[in-house]
Symmetry: D2
Subunit: 374 residues, 4 copies
Amino acid sequence: MAGNAFGERFRVTTFGESHGGVVGVVVDGCPAGHPFPRERIAAQLARRRPGQGRLSSARREPDEVEVGSGIDPESGLTLGTPIVMWVRNTDAKSQHYDELRELYRPSHADYTYDARYGLRFVAGGGRASARETVGRVAAGALAEDLLEASHGIEIVAWVDRVHEVAAPAVDPEAITREQVDRSEVRCPDPEAAARMTAAIEAARADRDTVGGVLRCVARGVPPGLGEPVFDKLSAALAGAMMSLPASRGFELGEGFAAVGMRGSEHNDAFVPDPQRQASTDGIRTRTNRSGGIQGGLSNGETVRFAVAFKPVATIFKPQDTVDRQGRAATYTARGRHDPCVLPRAVPMVEAMTALVLCDHLLRRLGARAEELGR
Amino acid sequence: MAGNAFGERFRVTTFGESHGGVVGVVVDGCPAGHPFPRERIAAQLARRRPGQGRLSSARREPDEVEVGSGIDPESGLTLGTPIVMWVRNTDAKSQHYDELRELYRPSHADYTYDARYGLRFVAGGGRASARETVGRVAAGALAEDLLEASHGIEIVAWVDRVHEVAAPAVDPEAITREQVDRSEVRCPDPEAAARMTAAIEAARADRDTVGGVLRCVARGVPPGLGEPVFDKLSAALAGAMMSLPASRGFELGEGFAAVGMRGSEHNDAFVPDPQRQASTDGIRTRTNRSGGIQGGLSNGETVRFAVAFKPVATIFKPQDTVDRQGRAATYTARGRHDPCVLPRAVPMVEAMTALVLCDHLLRRLGARAEELGR
Amino acid sequence: MAGNAFGERFRVTTFGESHGGVVGVVVDGCPAGHPFPRERIAAQLARRRPGQGRLSSARREPDEVEVGSGIDPESGLTLGTPIVMWVRNTDAKSQHYDELRELYRPSHADYTYDARYGLRFVAGGGRASARETVGRVAAGALAEDLLEASHGIEIVAWVDRVHEVAAPAVDPEAITREQVDRSEVRCPDPEAAARMTAAIEAARADRDTVGGVLRCVARGVPPGLGEPVFDKLSAALAGAMMSLPASRGFELGEGFAAVGMRGSEHNDAFVPDPQRQASTDGIRTRTNRSGGIQGGLSNGETVRFAVAFKPVATIFKPQDTVDRQGRAATYTARGRHDPCVLPRAVPMVEAMTALVLCDHLLRRLGARAEELGR
Amino acid sequence: MAGNAFGERFRVTTFGESHGGVVGVVVDGCPAGHPFPRERIAAQLARRRPGQGRLSSARREPDEVEVGSGIDPESGLTLGTPIVMWVRNTDAKSQHYDELRELYRPSHADYTYDARYGLRFVAGGGRASARETVGRVAAGALAEDLLEASHGIEIVAWVDRVHEVAAPAVDPEAITREQVDRSEVRCPDPEAAARMTAAIEAARADRDTVGGVLRCVARGVPPGLGEPVFDKLSAALAGAMMSLPASRGFELGEGFAAVGMRGSEHNDAFVPDPQRQASTDGIRTRTNRSGGIQGGLSNGETVRFAVAFKPVATIFKPQDTVDRQGRAATYTARGRHDPCVLPRAVPMVEAMTALVLCDHLLRRLGARAEELGR
């Protein structure tokens, strides 16, 4: 497998280059009999789309999804067969193609793709473009619909920091997508949102870019998701998030801040759950520094984590670089590019979270011998 | 697959519980004809072993490896067939077994394993014990031997921080394992090492524990390792590190600190390589804020990243918890446990790094059609 | 993974239902830099298509392939990224839909799909239709182009038997697709072809159907393809062929006839190869009863095998069956269906052979440690 | 993955060379809470062992299994963690080692392993020896215990033909292992068994060998096992059987004989099940020419298939061959070898059947969305 597929039982394979024919996804392993959530998919794709406002690029990507297979036309239910979805690339002008073909843009994938494959899709970044995430977001919206229907799981991500502007702490048990979407920058705190917007605008004015930190929670995750050792839920989430374009760091629960605590400060005491006393599931933790995962498996508390995104590599200042022959050159970006990916990364992080959880919900089936007899 | 295997082409499956018969590993996909590196494996296992000094627990785990298959007895070369290696568990006393069976230790895997499987191996943490990493370290030592022989790749990890004690920056191009091992705490800076040791001793004296941060570099990684989209080298490393016991965070290159930079500060300018002018490989970056990975693929610079480890969950103070019936209880740990995992985590991080790189070195073969004809 | 993907390194995932939107395939792992073989793909799809002559159904499936990704628009070379290809379903009338929804057609997948998924795509057999093989044939044509370009490998399948009409033996070293395609029934022996055609016409006249046997050879396969133990080349071919609709048997080399031989009659003596004396590859076998595979690995001789196909399940006579409530009923097929799948199965068998060989050519890379340094 | 693993959710990886340290298996994905069936494993290994009587070689392989992990020592239940089992190789004399190192035995894996790996384990056939199946049989016995406990599934294989001696048809609904084991040759018909024994003895007397056909049934398989398209139950069984040493053909149900039937003769009419009227599962077929699998999925009828095994390649007559330099040579086998593998292949075929069914029983979980909420 060449790295374009994710998940073991709820398995998505994305395809497509930014300025090629289509971008899309095949979902193999979606359980049968679930109402296909067209609106939810459209809604999350709309949140991912560029051109949503002042903060993102002016590109038009209408992102109309075509669903080619896997749905029963009569009932609208999933068939259990592969679901293919794609969006056509319509706005694919490549103005400075000749220059891009010869030069390696700093901190982009141009050079590394050439080093691996001997060629690359030049226009628009090709496969390395964030446009690839269209397929992830579409599949993720399907996954979160399954998670919600089966367990009432809710996934919400938001912008916690942009450059030097950090938002105040958010209640992970209460935050909603509606609150997140109140600002274009997708930070639920209005005051911080305003300052983040200003920071992004300032970077744009300087022909520069900024990064930031997203936080994400998943509420309602049942205990026991994740597999021991290599496929811990924490490892799966980390791999998923670090597969997103521009991500540079991941932390679970207290994350790097846990380093400043002693064990007695960091441990989460178990307490009886007043709601569900006297059962294995009647167990809660008093605190949630573990971020809902212990020993690599979910413990029934809210899963929470953070992802760091670097500043966008496309800046509009001259930069030193080399050409394909290794000769020194200068590159200055042109075209339309976001000065900050964070707002649009929100649905991407939610999608990857949903894909991980849905896959592990399926993988948990059969963990106990008694389930075989069903 | 149930989470006990790692890697696609250099594939390891670990097995064993802490106080069961054996812990070990099967390596499937090791290329044929490589001299089996018994000493390197023994050396890395010795670095992983508890009881190495004052800082780790007094347990004796001689960790003699038995190699059961995959090596040509005549030449000592790998055969290309699965290599099974295991270590017997010899010192498996479980004093307070009855208590552990009924109580859930806070921030351990006891509850989550029960929630998933309906039972667990009680003594010594079973499968969730860090003793599982014996198999990883043995396989990782084999992998790094292949990396060194084929590309001169060097992997070095060290302790960068323990609780509130941070070491000064280390030169990623120069640091060696010898420098790391000069102190028992595995921090190459003697002064910081002494303060880290004191912090660990202080925690132990308080019946408490501490965490920290490891840094790791891989030098000599050729460009083009990693697969686009989901199996980026960054994603693979993140997943690998977050699969280690007690890890809570991962960052590549500048990581979370990249958030404080603008694109113009973070981008790595390309420069001609004076050594290898006029070829695709004659390309370097002036800085290495990307940590050797761009667009998810290695760019030929030193791969560098950090991993955060939480404080050890086993503290020797009374803690609130619940029993298997969900009733409130108190638990106080007994036995021998490290107050800090960081020194012993060094070879674990090196092993996982080697496993990722070796797997991706194999996965890169065939990326270009011209290789098919070989 | 839910069974819709094939291959490990040259990995194809097919999608689509017979009367749904599209049928197609994503190829993940195609090496970069290969000229995309549009004509070869079109040619093999044309050979697979129904409505080619008197022997197949009158359905119109123009099978125009759209290629949505993975090809460099400038050079026409493969990019190393996923290649998605699909064909729209245009002729999707479903006349007796209501009946099909309630009744289970004997020896079809209707009942078993319902048993597994609780619902099924009723019209045209849905996912279980042989139309699914469009994706296989498209991907297989790409694979065989890679095989030919890199090693000169040639794959040819032909109809060896239809019902009671067996063709005389064919020279596996000389048979060509041109010879095969001289008759509509795809048997290279004209006299046998005529009798096979008569047998098919007779069955049709009786509202009945017939099966048959295909033979296939792959010439030029280098030695050492296949993996020991579970992924033997023989096992991969068997699994591939038995995944085709209506296949009921597979045999390699002498196959079931080997049972009538003693070891001294069946063994293939090694002989020096006059062309390539004094090297490991300077080795041939005098006979090829093994069918080019020994110990599960190719030995450099022509790979040859046979596949049995049952008579088509869709007959136009009344049959006893039950409805979804398990009540006795009678079903008589209507519509357009081939009385014999054999002629159209030829490109399907070739495609699956190419997929297996291409995957194993890629999997062989890295079998020896010396390859790591490349 | 390098071909030494089988199954997706009940995943076994075998390891070991015939004359190396151990042969064994790791099972990853065994559900938790099942009583570990030590006796059943020992019993099937005993049936696989050479030296059981006159017909097999005189080698002593006591085959005492050591279980190193995965079992709760207190309860004897499976833990859900990897189960490692191995048998030490004790009787590993290699008399004519020097000769074997230089010569390629005809129709063995010597040459093909060298072609792939550049070296091979010379003594006893190494990894290509049928001794590798120890791990399969051990894991298969565990799998069939799960199948029996959860669904009452019974798997029985027997010898249907040896060379030219064919046994009369056996009732697939009634045949038992006890009946099979009444004769050393494992043919339930006493008269045929006697003639098969004579054929084997005659071959041995001629320093020659014979092959044969095994048949196998699995009763009680619930409907809906198998995955559409590539991972059909039929494809999985075919691949599994063709991965066994010396297998050359596979057929399901009527197999190659289906070719002589018309559709009206081959189709299995559905009939209401008098026992389970008026439910989806209240459906039977009047005949079972499909061998219990339709559209690639089980239909609730008895799964039945046949496997052809070639005559053993090790004959005690001089044979033409070449040495590693490609020079003509003569080879005459020495040592102890069975003249016919069929009797010992019975537990191997049963094991592979159990592995396929257990894997697909686990894979079926989650086929319907309603299962996610459990």
